[in-house]
């Protein structure tokens, strides 16, 4: 399949996806199918949902350290896919979990940090959903294209 042009991609994926990065993944696909990128993207969906669940648990347990680690974990994969909004949200969670403010200064009040994590987690979940919809649409659309072709 030929790569869709940037405008088209952007209109489908929204501003939560960095196209340069994401296209790198698409370039790794064999000509004619999206097997590789599909497996990566849908693998990421699984990973993200699982991580969000673990974050919810950690939030209930007020385990800031765990939240920070989970934030770091999901930050890595979302960044690799170019999902910049999710990535930024994860970085916030990572920082708040480390009891830091966004500028890296320490925030001694654990309750403040927990509240911030909670807020950031809600935001990142909605960013994720948005991007998930976009990506699913993109792959559906690809299928349609191929069907049509």
């Amino acid at each position: 399949m030929a790569l869709p042009d940037d405008k088209e991609l952007e209109s489908i994926l929204g501003d939560g996806v960095d196209l340069t990065t994401f296209k790198q993944i698409l370039e790794m696909d064999e000509p004619g199918d999206n097997e590789f990128s599909t497996s990566i993207v849908f693998g990421f969906f699984e990973q993200a949902e699982e991580t969000f669940e673990r974050m919810d648990v950690a939030l209930d347990e007020k385990d800031l350290e765990k939240l920070s680690e989970l934030g770091h974990f999901l930050k890595g994969s979302s960044a690799t896919l170019g999902l910049i909004k999710v990535r930024d949200g994860c970085e916030k969670i990572q920082r708040y979990g480390k009891q830091e403010n966004l500028d890296g200064s320490p925030e001694p009040d654990a309750d403040v940090c927990l509240a911030r994590v909670k807020e950031a987690l809600m935001a990142v979940k909605s960013d994720y959903e948005e991007v998930e919809i976009g990506l699913k649409k993109f792959y559906d659309k690809d299928d349609e294209d191929e069907d049509g072709a």
Partner: protein
Amino acid sequence: MSGTEAAAAQGGGGNNASEFVRKLFRMLEDPSHQDVARWGKDGDSFVVVEGEKFTRSILPKHFKHSNMSSFIRQLNKYDFHKVKPSTDGDSTSPNGNILEFKHPYFRVDSKDDLDNIRRKAPATRKPQVAEDFTTSQHVSVISEQLTATQQQVQQLQELFADVSQTNRLLVNEVLTLQKMLNAQKQAQYEMLNYLSPYNHNRNNGMMGHQMNSNGSMPTAEGDEAVPELRRARELLSSVPADTVADRELERLHDIYESPADSATMVTPVSMPMMHDPMNDISRYPVYPVGQTVGIDPFHSDHINKIPYAIPNEGSSGPMDQHQQHQQHTPQPGSSGQMNNAPGTSGSMDKPASLWGPKKPVVFLVEDDPTCAKIGIKFLKSMGCDVEHANNGAEAFSRVSTVGRDHFDLIFMDIIMPRLDGVSATMYIRQHCPTTPIIAMTSNIRPDEVNGYFEHGMNGVLAKPFTKEGMLKSVKTNMQHLLKNPPSQSDNGHGPGFLMNVPYLSTTGNSIKFESPTPPAGASGSNWSSGHMSQNGVDQSFGLMDGSNQYNISQNRGGYSTMDASSGRISDHDSPPEKRQRLNNSQRNYA
């Protein structure tokens, strides 16, 4: 009264006669008072004629008292006997106030017999005397002990002073070393400033050589025209080597080395510092407990515990394996070049192969499935064979299983569960001293980057990595495997990164830093915003610090004085040693 006199009588005199008896004898010899007290007629007794006068004048003079009855008591004690007044006409004193005493051995003509005059019943007092004797024995023993203790205390004080002195020296020495280190960093900074722009005009090999010789630049052509170089040299020479302290340090070291010396007590205390941590790697405490998501090696809680102990299996094994390996592997230098039969691996080699006869084997250590999948895909698309491990522990056990030359390059995530990338690198380094290990991480603050190099890593690939960045890393770290190895500096001009510095590209296994190639034009979406762009230069010099060459020379400087005789310094210095020393100076940088 009588007691003291008895005691005096007992011990006194050059001859053995008692004092009392000799005084008595002397009194009778005195001619001045023959009218009061004198020898008896036969010389076997003595007579006190005028009791009252005797008491008043004679007793005080000879016996220092004036108590007649006490005098008589004394006589009785010495077994003198009163002689009954005789009725012969000799008596000149009609009033009968005459006292006469006698003792069988008390004779005017036989002074020697006085020795035989003893107090009666001395037996009653003997036990007490014996007691006094043992007590005095005790006292002398105790006082001896006291003296000995005092000597010990004094020795300890001296020892303590010695140790304090040593400690001071060590601290001073360390401080000097640190200063030198900083000066060298700055000096090299200056050199780099100078060398980078001249890169294209100069002979690479020669420049590389100059850099290697670490500051001893030839004084040839036109140095003065280059202020940076001059400043660099000034900086390097501004901290003179403190040879006095060095010698003193060596001397102290010698003292500590010989256990027979008086300083034995110090030895066990100071040895752990000199001790080679390599042999002891398993003693490092387990740090984060119960982690499942990822261990950040530079987390403040456990930065001092790197390397994190390898979890469960093989915690005792690695060192043995390592040592065995060291024994039958001759030279580290020539890692992948000659061995490894060509064409052992044949998977999809559609991209018109980048590589020579041997396809590189790359080890990707990454816990994140997405990153791992993409990384594997990228590497495969470059024509590499790829193996993957999910964490540091897995990676180490894999590296221990295969030969040391199995992998040509290792990409290592930093924060991973079970065993972090820095610790894993330190373990792997014991096994594979030369295999390039590239940190693959989003944690690229200068101090973090510095830390990676200090712990034996060779490069950093910033996350999120791009195919381009990864390719650059792959090429520069496996030049010897390329089909067309770059003849000179034609391997790209990464904007502002060390790729341009000549000696880096000529000495295959040194330092690389791959630009993450930020997403085109999207400035707002730059990864760790600010870090890369602002600190590019600083990071470059962080890399400098981490180069193997530099660290080895550091270690030589530090340890040749500390540990000169033990010969433990190796070209592949152990990570823990580095860590111990460098933690102190780590933050001096930038």
